[in-house]
């Protein structure tokens, strides 16, 4: 009862001093904006990094890297074999804890063309079907390579939508989606037939953005002439890269491009440019890697010219960055809220000094010290709460603005949690800031307060 009334009186008090209250709230507004904004930026970063991680093959992907032979094996350096298909076979046969092995033979600086149009893919790689699961690809159209393609080293390829966009035109530019199955394109001036195309990869944010834009466009189409417009911002780097992929059968890469030797050396180069593995049970990662190491040491005659790179290191890195960002964001928000709290305390002290007589009157008609205490505390909390809510609105605008400036993969995302925390914090700050003024107001003796001029 008294509670509701206190809120009403508090609102009146705030309304009676609009500009003063607003200026007081600015601190809280700033605090909430920085808290919500910071957490939105961090959330965006987090999303971007996580999506990029998945776009690059997920957390359970382990890269088998080459490394210079260790010092104690220096004398064997010349016989270091590098990663070859022998390794792949050996792992498949003798390392049961390794579920998937994907060999890759990449072509460097490849130019792909179709008629006048040419483009450079992010990677043009000879691969096995295992690459689909390894790099988390989804084939949207056509097929992937079969055994005959591989055995006969057929000139076939599977492309990402980015390549299609470059060579055949983007759906939003030409008004329809081309699925170029059966078309021939030139890879390093050799004709290849497209047998499959992946789905278009994009971040969650971008996907949402597109749906929004599409709706917008549909509306505009009804309203007026069609306007050619892009899909908006292109996705993050990781997605762009993934969409710009060209795969050909591994054997094709070998026969057509590598068996003649790289850079015109004339010496066939059977080394793989990449060898990725996935373990059967992620919780037994250590064991699996040990098993793979043993197998590979055998095929490498004991020469340790390889190492494993797990995504764990990268995840750790990401988490550390996020933690740092959270900490600094939290500190900034905390300081703003603190300053806001001091502002509120200041204004509440001024306000009760103006209202000594009113407080005296309330006491004369029966208000207890507790009533007055709660009244002042609630007023202070209400100022902070309104400031907090205004802060939410401002942060919404702020984040929109930021979103327009950053690539969509990392665009900030406001979370309900951040908003709740921010508002809860500002109310807490308001209550804390109100304690001292409330104690002061509650301690007036009624007669002194009534006589106060």
């Amino acid at each position: 009862m008294i509670f509701v009334n206190s809120i009403v009186v508090g609102l009146k008090e705030i309304w009676a001093h609009k500009s003063r209250s607003f200026l007081t709230m600015l601190g809280i507004i700033l605090g909430v904006t920085s808290l919500v904004g910071m957490s939105a930026i961090i959330k965006g970063m987090e999303n971007g990094m996580k999506e990029a991680m998945i776009a690059m093959g997920g957390v359970d992907k382990v890269l088998v890297r080459t490394q210079p032979v260790p010092a104690w094996q220096d004398h064997l350096a010349d016989s270091a074999p590098g990663r070859t298909l022998t390794d792949v076979m050996a792992l498949q046969n003798s390392a049961p804890l390794i579920r998937l092995v994907s060999p890759e033979m990449a072509l460097d600086d490849v130019m792909i063309s179709r008629g006048e149009k040419r483009t450079e893919p992010s990677e043009c790689v000879g691969a096995w079907p295992a690459v689909l699961e390894m790099n988390l690809h989804t084939l949207a159209h056509g097929r992937f390579f079969n055994e005959i393609d591989e055995a006969e080293a057929r000139p076939v390829c599977v492309i990402g939508t980015g390549i299609r966009d470059e060579l055949f035109g983007r759906p939003d530019e030409i008004g329809k989606e081309i699925i170029p199955l059966g078309e021939t394109i030139m890879i390093e001036n050799q004709p290849f037939v497209i047998v499959g195309m992946f789905q278009e990869y994009m971040g969650e944010q971008e996907a949402k953005e597109r749906i929004r834009q599409k709706e917008l466009r549909d509306k505009q189409e009804q309203a007026g002439p069609k306007r050619s417009r892009g899909w908006g911002r292109r996705g993050g780097w990781a997605f762009w890269r993934k969409n710009m992929t060209v795969y050909i059968p591994l054997n094709t890469a070998w026969v057509r491009f590598r068996s003649g030797g790289t850079a015109g050396s004339g010496i066939p180069d059977p080394r793989l440019t990449d060898m990725d593995i996935k373990v059967a049970d992620f919780s037994r990662l250590e064991e699996a890697l040990q098993q793979a190491r043993n197998v590979l040491l055998l095929t490498h005659q004991g020469i340790e010219d390889f190492s494993f790179e797990t995504q764990e290191n990268q995840i750790e890195n990401i988490n550390k960055q996020i933690k740092n960002a959270r900490l600094s964001g939290g500190i900034i928000a905390g300081i703003s809220l603190l300053v806001g709290g001091i502002g509120i305390m200041n204004i509440m002290l001024a306000s009760i000094n103006e209202r000594v007589r009113e407080i005296g009157i309330c006491k004369a008609v029966g208000a207890t010290s507790a009533n007055i205490f709660i009244q002042i505390l609630i007023e202070s909390a209400v100022i902070a709460l309104i400031g907090g809510l205004m802060g939410l609105v401002v942060s919404e605008l702020f984040v929109d603005l930021l979103g327009a400036l950053t690539p969509s993969a990392n665009s900030p995302v406001i979370t309900r949690n951040a908003e709740l925390v921010a508002v809860a914090f500002s109310v807490a700050v308001g209550v804390l800031a109100g304690i001292l003024p409330a104690i002061k107001a509650a301690s007036f003796s009624p007669i002194e307060a009534l006589r106060y001029e």
């Binding site: 009862m1 008294i2 009334n5 009186v9 009146k12 008090e13 009676a16 007589r357 009113e358 005296g360 009157i361 309330c362 006491k363 004369a364 008609v365 029966g366 208000a367 207890t368 010290s369 507790a370 009533n371 003796s445 009624p446 007669i447 009534l450």
Partner: protein, 245 residues
């Protein structure tokens, strides 16, 4: 036992080493239903006495018992409760809250008494009817005349149905006519059986109260000085206002 009992009550102020005895050994009994006026020269301690009687202030020495409760032993919370339920106070300068309108001002004591919203509204309107202020419910105090404000203040004092109503120079800032209206109100309240204690310089008011207490220099005078209170002049003018014997 009397409703109000003062035993040897003193109130001493210390101003820069100087001792001011605003009240000096006052003993007094006021029974339930009495209609009392307190008179005396300016600075004699009337307001001080009222504040102590009304639990707004505490004595330096002596005991005050209000309706069986020893005031100086009561906690601040209990005092607040007494001010809220047992006492209605009417001030010389009205003391309405400027940001609240008429009804809200009258509702204020009931808020602290924990009366529900609808009941509060009903009782506030009823109290305002008694003082004939029903037509100005939504006005702010600043939009009312002094007499109107005082009537609202009286409604506020009555709204929790207190046993005792204190009024410190309730007509001091009002013209004669308005003063008469206010006085009529207090007489009505008295006839309804409420205990009413009025501090006044106005002989017309003092004349109507059955009991008069005169304070001089912080002490209760043995005998009311009629000349000082102006009662002699009044009596000479008309007998109609004289109290019924």
């Amino acid at each position: 036992m009397a409703l109000l009992e003062l035993r040897n009550v003193s109130k001493i102020y210390h101003l820069g080493g100087e001792e001011i005895r605003a009240l000096d050994g006052v003993s007094l009994d006021i029974g339930g239903g009495e209609f009392v006026s307190i008179i005396g020269p300016s600075g004699s301690g009337k307001s001080t006495l009222m504040h102590i009687l009304g639990c707004l202030d505490t004595p330096s020495h002596g005991t005050v018992t209000l309706d069986g409760t020893e005031v100086q032993r009561a906690t601040p919370r209990e005092l607040a409760h007494m001010r809220n339920r047992k006492i209605g106070f009417v001030f010389q300068f009205f003391n309405l809250l400027p940001k609240l309108n008429v009804v809200q001002n009258v509702e204020l004591p009931m808020i602290y008494a924990g009366v529900s919203g609808r009941e509060r509204r009903k009782r506030a309107e009823h109290a305002l009817e008694l003082v004939e202020m029903s037509h100005r419910l939504k006005n702010r105090p600043s939009q009312l005349s002094g007499g109107q404000q005082q009537r609202v203040a009286i409604a506020r004092a009555l709204v929790n149905d207190p046993k005792i109503v204190f009024a410190d120079e309730p007509t001091g800032n009002l013209d004669t006519h308005t003063g008469e209206i206010i006085l009529a109100l207090f007489r009505k309240l008295s006839q309804e059986g409420r205990t009413i204690i009025i501090v006044t310089h106005n002989p017309e008011i003092a004349a109507v109260t059955p009991r008069r207490i005169e304070i001089r220099n912080g002490k209760i005078a043995e005998k009311v000085d009629e000349r000082l209170a102006g009662l002699d002049r009044l009596a000479a003018k008309a007998g109609s206002l004289a109290p019924a014997a």
